[in-house]
């Protein structure tokens, strides 16, 4: 082979590698749509499951997942953004900032089942929150905290120094500068982190099976009650061999939900984002 042929060959191989990613996505989603679409109708989305999910719908699981992921994000966002602001705006680079960042990265690497075990022993039993939306939501919050934290930190660090100086030079306090310059300019990065966290929180099974999820098709009335959730329901339907059709239907609903989060956010980001 001469050099030009090699060049073309390499280009082809790399193109293949790149296109492989999108093909996997298409196959995965296509497979779930084909297998799951037949299970889905209006009743499936709006009624309770019957006979352990062989029949009926998944409404309580949809609601439960929204509660759990919503609580996780509501808890993780202020802590993650607050911590990121402290690290970027209130302290010097040093041992402590390195330790905090290392801690966040390590937390990010902890397997989700470990969060589940921790939530079970610490929140459910030690703090006596019981198997509940509160326990599950907090467990998920711990899990997505590093995602929100690091994305926020990156975004806040990206705010140019000269914009902050411009604000201080006009007699702004630190709080005013953060509120009027730093947050508006980093909001889309922060929102991205929150959405990534939301998607993970909605989809993870391991953190909630010990802490929040039940099979009983009840509608939770407070955060001290347990709830059904989509990923846990999907797990049960599949592992107990109850109904593959409904399992794929549940999977499709879960995927669409996560995609809807992403879509909603990209709209918010477009509106909020500031042209530079």
């Amino acid at each position: 082979m001469d050099r030009h042929t090699k060049d073309k060959a390499m280009r082809g191989v790399l193109w293949g590698a790149a296109i492989f990613t999108i093909i996997i996505l298409i196959i995965l989603i296509g497979f779930i749509v084909i297998k799951g679409a037949s299970a889905i109708d209006w009743a499936f989305l709006t009624t309770k499951p019957l006979r352990s999910g062989r029949e009926g719908g998944i409404f309580p699981a949809i609601v439960g997942t929204i509660y759990l992921a919503g609580l996780a994000v509501a808890v993780a966002t202020p802590i993650g953004v607050g911590g990121a602001l402290y690290l970027t705006e209130f302290t010097k680079e040093g041992k402590i900032t390195k330790a905090i960042r290392f801690g966040a990265d390590t937390l990010n690497g902890v397997p989700s089942i470990i969060f589940g075990l921790f939530g079970f022993s610490f929140l459910v039993y030690y703090l006596n929150f019981g198997i509940s939306i509160l326990s599950g939501g907090l467990t998920l919050a711990f899990m997505i905290l590093p995602t929100v934290f690091r994305a926020s930190e990156e975004a806040i660090r990206g705010v140019p120094r000269w914009d902050k100086e411009g604000s201080y030079a006009l007699g702004a306090t630190k709080l005013q500068t953060i509120w009027k310059v730093v947050i508006p300019q980093s909001i889309s990065g922060i929102v991205t982190g929150v959405i990534l966290g939301l998607g993970r929180a909605a989809g993870e099974t391991a953190p909630i099976i010990f802490t929040a999820a039940i099979l009983n098709p009840i509608m939770p009335e407070s955060i001290m009650q347990p709830t059904m959730a989509l990923p846990a329901h999907l797990y049960t339907l599949t592992s107990e061999g109850i109904s593959m059709e409904n399992a794929f239907g549940t999977a499709l609903v879960l995927i669409v939900m996560v995609l809807l989060f992403n879509f909603a956010v990209s709209i918010i980001r477009k509106k909020k984002s500031i042209r530079r």
Binding site: Y168, A169, G171, R275, R276
Partner: protein, 250 residues
């Protein structure tokens, strides 16, 4: 009349001694220029005058800088109020990525002005005061990033004027601008000196000669010579100043 006085000021970045025993006076309603080769400390010094260097962790300052006799480095000084009284225009035009109107209203809003009519008056007056009004009067709602660099810099001047400072610091305000925009800013500075005390850092010696009344020549953290601009540019006391000004050095 002396507006600000710099007394025995030394500054370190960590262990690097960047300003050495600086003494000079800033006169009211005059333009004082800081000149000197890159790294001589002139920008560092101007950033001491509104305590902008406080934002850098490793900086240590000794000595005194007074505004109307009061040391601005005293513990009881409100830095926020100080920066309102001593405005600053930066090297790179740095309007906020919001509308032209909101850029100018930013400062007044910080200090509690909420009334819309009042804010509008402030915006209009200061755009006129910075010779930008005719160019932007129809596009006040447009994002400030969409106007030219020279217009952005005049917008930054308008934004600075809107908080009613007494002293204005210009840190190489024209180094990113073309000659025509530079000329406009120079004219503006000459007008502003009627109402404000002005300090300007510049790389451009002709600019210092054109617009300033007093000039300080800095080299390696030392103030080599401080004098009336006319004297510095015609008959400097220090032979090194002459070398720099005539382009033989620097």
């Amino acid at each position: 009349m002396v507006r600000m006085e710099i007394k025995d000021v030394n500054l370190w970045y960590g262990t690097f001694h960047a300003l050495k025993d600086i003494n000079m006076k800033i006169y009211k309603n005059k333009v004082t220029a800081f000149i000197g080769p890159s790294g001589c400390g002139k920008s560092t010094l101007i950033r001491c005058l509104n305590r902008m260097n406080d934002l850098i962790d490793t900086v240590k300052v000794t000595g005194e800088i007074t505004l109307d006799g009061k040391n601005i480095y005293d513990k009881d000084v409100d830095v926020v109020k100080l920066r309102k009284d001593i405005g600053m225009v930066f090297q790179k035009p740095n309007p906020f990525p919001i509308s032209i109107h909101d850029n100018i209203a930013y400062g007044p809003r910080l200090h509690g002005i909420k009334d819309k009519n009042k804010l509008n008056d402030i915006v209009v007056n200061n755009l006129k005061g910075s010779a930008l009004w005719e160019e932007v009067k129809d596009i006040l709602d447009q994002n400030a990033m969409s106007i030219s660099g020279g217009q952005q810099q005049r917008l930054c001047i308008a934004r600075c004027l809107a908080v009613e400072p007494e002293v204005i610091l210009f840190d190489e305000p024209c180094s990113a601008l073309d000659p025509i925009s530079t000329g406009k800013i120079e004219d503006l500075i000459t007008q502003l000196k009627k109402d404000y005390t002005i300090v300007i850092v510049t790389h451009n010696m002709q600019q210092a000669a054109r617009i300033s009344d007093y000039t300080g020549y800095f080299y390696l953290g030392n103030l080599m010579e401080f004098n009336k601009t006319k004297k510095i540019f015609t008959n400097p006391d220090n032979p090194q100043t002459e070398k720099y000004i005539t382009g033989k050095f620097g």
